[in-house]
């Protein structure tokens, strides 16, 4: 069984909001209808977004770190928002694990948003239905796009490659490898929702360089002279002999 998901690398996210605007642009232009804004150029602008980037300060001054934290639907493997829906508008696809809302069935009762601990569902104030991240279901299977472009809009937009996309049930996928090798984790594991999207933690980047790695022991740069030429029969070594 396939479970498509995003893996977000907090170590390289710089909080530029490119994924937010790219998501908004793609999803407001699609067949499913616009993500409507109210007062976009006025006081108190508000509107529907599937993806937000938040910023947190970790630690105490002066030892602080800024963590930029992109947040969208996590496409849980046990989505608590789905069974509470009275109409069946909220559903999880068997084929690829994407959690979707059928905008033609949704009555806008907001109950599913109460049942989501992550706050990733937003009622569109003008369309009066619940909306959420679709994992760009209209891109990833879109045959009008070239194959390399069939990825969620946020993934395509990220300038630091902080957003990886793939099937977390395929152990050889780029996302599975990232989760396995870089310590990928889930948000609010205490609720048992099993989010499909994972996050990669911040890492300390340290390189240990010994002195002999800076200055080659076998041929220190300060000895700037012609190396001896070995005889034709003798073995030759790079950097040791001249050929």
């Amino acid at each position: 069984m396939t479970q498509l998901a995003l893996v977000i690398d907090l170590n390289v996210c710089v909080g530029c909001h490119a994924c937010v605007t790219s998501c908004k642009e793609w999803n407001t232009s699609g067949d499913a209808g616009p993500l409507v804004d109210q007062n976009p150029y006025d006081a108190d602008p508000t509107g529907t977004f599937f993806n937000r980037v938040q910023s947190f300060e970790v630690g105490e001054y002066p030892n602080t770190e800024t963590v930029h934290f992109p947040k969208s639907c996590l496409h849980c493997e046990e989505p608590p928002c789905v069974p509470v829906c009275p109409t069946g508008a909220s559903y999880k696809r068997e084929s690829d694990g994407i959690v979707l809302v059928d905008y033609d069935k949704c009555i806008g009762c907001k109950y599913c948003s109460w049942a989501c601990p992550y706050g990733v569902r937003e009622v569109d104030a003008e369309r009066k239905v619940m909306t959420k991240c679709t994992l760009c279901v209209d891109r990833i299977y879109n045959e009008e796009l070239p194959e390399w472009d069939r990825k969620p809009a946020c993934v395509r937009a990220c300038p630091t490659n902080a957003r990886l996309y793939g099937d977390i049930h395929d152990p050889e996928s780029v996302v599975s490898k990232a989760i396995r090798e870089a310590g990928g984790y889930q948000l609010m594991p205490e609720w048992g929702t099993k989010p499909a999207n994972h996050y990669l933690p911040r890492r300390k980047t340290q390189v240990t360089i010994r002195e002999d790695e800076v200055e080659r022991a076998d041929n220190p740069l300060k000895i700037d002279s012609q190396l001896p030429k070995p005889g034709q029969e003798e073995p030759s070594l790079d950097d040791v002999t001249s050929w």
Binding site: V20, F56, P86, T87, I107, L187, P201
Partner: protein, 328 residues
Amino acid sequence: MHPAFSVIFLTTLIGAGQGLFLALFGAESLGLLGVLPAPGSEFLALGSLIALIFLVLGLVASFFHLGRPERAWRTATKWRTSWLSREVIVLPAFMGVVFLYGVAHWFGFNPPLGTLAGGYPVLPTVLLGALGALLAIVLYITTAMIYACIKFLQEWHSPLTVVNYTVLGAASGFTLAAAYAAWAGAAGLVNFLVTVAIVLTVLGLATRAASLVRNSRIKAKSTLQTAIGVKHPKIQQKSQGFMGGSFNTREFFHHVSAAFLRGMKWVFLLAAFVIPAILLLVVLATRVDPTGVLIAAFVTQYLGLIAERWFFFAQANHPQNIYYQSVA
């Protein structure tokens, strides 16, 4: 949570309507058993109409909660998993039974269908009434389970939620029934209904106080640490990602001060329990004309329950609020 008046009116209005119907059917049953003076058919028919009016008003209020009310019929489809869907099925079914019960009494359609041991006749109104009473109880449970089943809202995720919806609804219904009986001149029923209303009101105070105590001791399961997966003890949100509001900042916050919230708690404790209980006791203990006092008791208790329901929503702290703490 943001308290939505559509849902506040829905739950309080149908709660009183269900309680009134339970009171009517209780009075009819005890009348048949000879414990109470039997209430007249017209009294029961008109009482059913009042209960039906409360239920219809509640149903109308609920439509204001929906973004797309024209699709409301779809809500009956997912009863296997959704308590909201179950409520949507039970409410009209209950309304239908209340309607039939009232009609049967109004037209005096009550041919005995048989006789039980002891010589008690099996009457259609009793069968309808028993079915209605069952549906009334089931409706209390389905309404309350909509809130109690959401584990993320720890203030709601408790059997006390179901107990409170049932007891508080029934208490207001019996107070309403007592006021109606006094107004309709069914003097033989007033003391019985007032007594049950007092018992339910005091019981409601106890169970609601129990949930207040429970909620004051809740330790939130989710923290900023689990929310973003960073283990450090000191984390501060600097930006929620936007400066204007969003659905998340409107739907899940009550936007009032802590002092207002505390004040509302005392308002509902007084108005929903203490004052109605005193007024009901006055009727029992003195010889005043009960109609005015009982109507005042019901109105106070109903307004108190609106405050109670408002507080019920406002007090619930959704874990998503962790993500929306700083505008910047």
